[in-house]
């Protein structure tokens, strides 16, 4: 099994890092330490971290922090960031007010 998928692998004890308090996801105010801890608690993909912490789920939809989160997970798992799958892409690609989404125009003329 490749290293990435091996969920039984021990990551060692969680050690607090000096920059753990830095906010990574600005929209949802999630810190680096929270993301690192989530990985230690078993969240090994971008999607898992997103659902666990809401990192990348805010107004900018991960446009700013996506790449940073990927890097943090990769470093924690000691693998290359290019192995880490991005979150599933789904519409709406940009944040939208629910009244706009509800105001769906079926027939365009």
């Amino acid at each position: 099994m490749n290293k990435y998928m091996d969920r039984n692998r021990s990551l060692g004890e969680f050690v607090h890092g000096e920059d753990d308090d830095i906010i990574i996801c600005r929209c949802e105010e999630i810190t680096k330490g929270e993301i690192r801890r989530a990985v230690h608690e078993g969240m090994m993909t971008m999607t898992e971290v997103k659902r666990y912490l809401r990192a990348g789920m805010g107004l900018c939809q991960g446009n700013t922090c996506g790449k940073l989160i990927k890097g943090i997970i990769a470093r924690e798992l000691e693998i290359s960031a290019s192995q880490i799958e991005e979150c599933t892409a789904r519409g709406p690609a940009r944040p939208v007010e629910i009244n706009v989404l509800g105001n769906e125009v079926e027939s365009n003329e």
């Binding site: 940073l68 789904r90 105001n103």
Partner: protein, 529 residues
């Protein structure tokens, strides 16, 4: 019924507009969607002159290229939907758009995605404070909205974006306190670095940002030196007095819509879409162009846009195979010209280039200090080695970058680049320079100066490109600065020339002591004694 087009283009930047125009010219019914209130993508922020050759619209300022594209789009009947945020793209070539507080759906037989790129960020203590922003955001504030992003800026990143935006900040009257980069070398073009260093902006290479200080907004920054593995060296911290921190550390493609539709990426987990030689993705009839395909420049975005426009036209049956094939191969040749030289895709990130294509030793100091050292300057073909009588150009362009406006600018044939536009410009030693200064004004890198060592017994003149308002008047006394941005001598403005062809690059002619003619490269009246 859902509204249908032959072709939907997402993104109205240089790539999207070029694609739409190219397709519409061939009879395709095209609609372009862009989320902004005006089209043009990044182009309208780009107030500087572009590199390349004539066919790449070299020496034209970015926003003017934008205006030309818009006019062409209108003439060819491209329908442009503005304030239209494309929220979804589905594999049946349907898009979902947020327009006028409504969710609209449109369908087409072919789609071109030209959504561009977004700026990368780096996190550090205090990076969420107001005053920390992307360099592109600062550029948008200044050049689109006429708002100064701050009054004292730290630029993080010495790539072309960091350097160009620093220069534009200076033009807007903002102080650029420093440009830093974690790498030990300047990332962008040497000419872009030189035009900021000679104004006195310090460049700190092998430095990183440690923190943004401040409680409500940025009130300072701490930078520190890094070692060869980019780790901070303790004890090297330095405080800078700034109110704004601009981040220019690269761009990433905005390829989410493509993923949503199910396009395969180049690397399974990456954000770069995989394409064939006609810019078609893994989905038939879905093409890409511009920065979303590969982070490059507006010049290449326009070419890849046109290639995709033709490919879509062919896919839709409007352009026959042979014509399309021919047109695409011509465009690829044009693209190949931009892909040569020291900054070509193959050479990207290389730090071991010791010689130029012609065999000149590369300038060490340019990459390490941001300017060419006095002891290196004479070795390049644009700088006369022996004494030239009377006025003559001195071309301080020493890297193989795709650019040749200087050659066309000189009607007397003093300057030669040749067929390959990445060659260094050479100055003919027996030239017949009339001092018109067009080469100075039209060089997008602002790397050409006119020197006249025979102005008088004691004085020489130096004519330099100048783009800062207000222009100093004749008779203004001030200080001449060196390539390094250090004061070298007192100087006096003899005249300041402008005309339409020079397009807002004025020619400032200053009088300096004779021995300073190869040192004085900028003028400042501020510190006049």
């Amino acid at each position: 019924m859902m509204k249908r087009y032959d072709l939907i283009v997402i993104g109205a930047g240089p790539a999207g507009l070029s694609a739409a125009i190219q397709a519409a010219k061939n009879g395709v019914k095209v609609a372009v969607f862009d989320e902004n209130k005006s089209p043009g993508g990044q182009l309208f922020k780009q107030i500087h002159k572009f590199f390349g050759s004539k066919e790449h619209k070299a020496k034209v300022r970015g926003f003017r290229i934008g205006q030309e594209l818009l006019k062409e789009a209108e003439q060819t009947g491209v329908m442009v939907h503005l304030n239209a945020i494309v929220m979804g793209l589905y594999n049946n070539k349907e898009i979902m758009v947020n327009e006028n507080d409504q969710t609209n759906h449109y369908k087409a037989d072919s789609i071109i995605i030209a959504t561009g790129a977004r700026e990368n960020m780096i996190p550090f203590e205090g990076w969420t404070l107001p005053g920390v922003m992307g360099a592109g955001a600062a550029q948008t504030m200044m050049n689109l909205h006429g708002v100064k992003p701050g009054s004292k800026v730290l630029m993080v990143g010495s790539g072309n974006v960091g350097l160009v935006v620093s220069y534009q900040l200076l033009q807007a009257g903002v102080e650029v306190v420093a440009i830093i980069d974690a790498a030990p070398r300047v990332g962008g073009y040497g000419v872009h670095a030189s035009k900021v260093t000679r104004t006195g902006v310090p460049l700190y290479l092998s430095h990183t940002i440690v923190k943004a200080e401040g409680t409500e907004t940025v009130s300072g920054a701490v930078i520190a030196q890094v070692n060869s593995s980019f780790q901070k060296i303790e004890g090297t911290e330095k405080h800078l007095d700034v109110d704004t921190i601009c981040i220019a550390v690269g761009l990433s493609p905005m390829s989410k819509l493509l993923k949503m539709a199910g396009c395969k990426m180049e690397e399974a987990a990456g954000d770069i879409p995989g394409v064939d030689e006609n810019n078609q993705t893994s989905l038939e009839g879905v093409f890409i162009a511009g920065d979303v395909a590969k982070i490059e420049e507006a010049s290449s975005a326009m070419i890849t846009g046109r290639i995709s426009g033709i490919s879509a036209g062919r896919y839709l049956g409007y352009i026959d195979d042979e014509v399309a094939g021919n047109d695409i191969s011509k465009l690829k040749n044009s693209l190949a010209q931009l892909h040569k030289g020291m900054f070509s895709p193959e050479n990207k990130g290389r730090i071991d280039i010791e010689e130029t294509d012609e065999g000149y030793k590369t300038s060490e100091s340019l990459l390490k200090k941001g300017y060419i050292d006095d002891n290196e300057i004479l070795s390049f073909p644009g700088v006369p080695k022996k004494k030239v009588v009377g006025i003559h150009p001195v071309i301080e362009c020493v890297q193989n970058i795709p650019c040749n406006p200087c050659q066309d600018a000189c009607k007397n044939g003093c300057i030669k680049v040749g067929e390959i536009i990445t060659k260094l410009p050479a100055v003919d030693p027996d030239m017949n320079c009339i001092g018109c200064g067009l080469c100075v004004a039209l060089c997008p890198g602002q790397a050409i100066f006119l020197v006249d060592d025979d102005y008088s017994d004691d004085y020489a003149t130096v004519t330099l490109p100048y783009e800062f308002l207000p222009y100093p008047k004749a008779g203004t006394k001030g200080i001449a600065l060196s390539r390094e941005g250090k004061r070298v001598c007192e100087a006096e403005v003899l005249y300041c020339r402008t005309n339409t062809a020079m397009d807002h690059t004025a020619l400032l002619t200053i009088k300096v002591p004779k021995e300073m003619s190869m040192k004085a490269r900028f003028f400042t009246a501020k510190e006049a004694l």
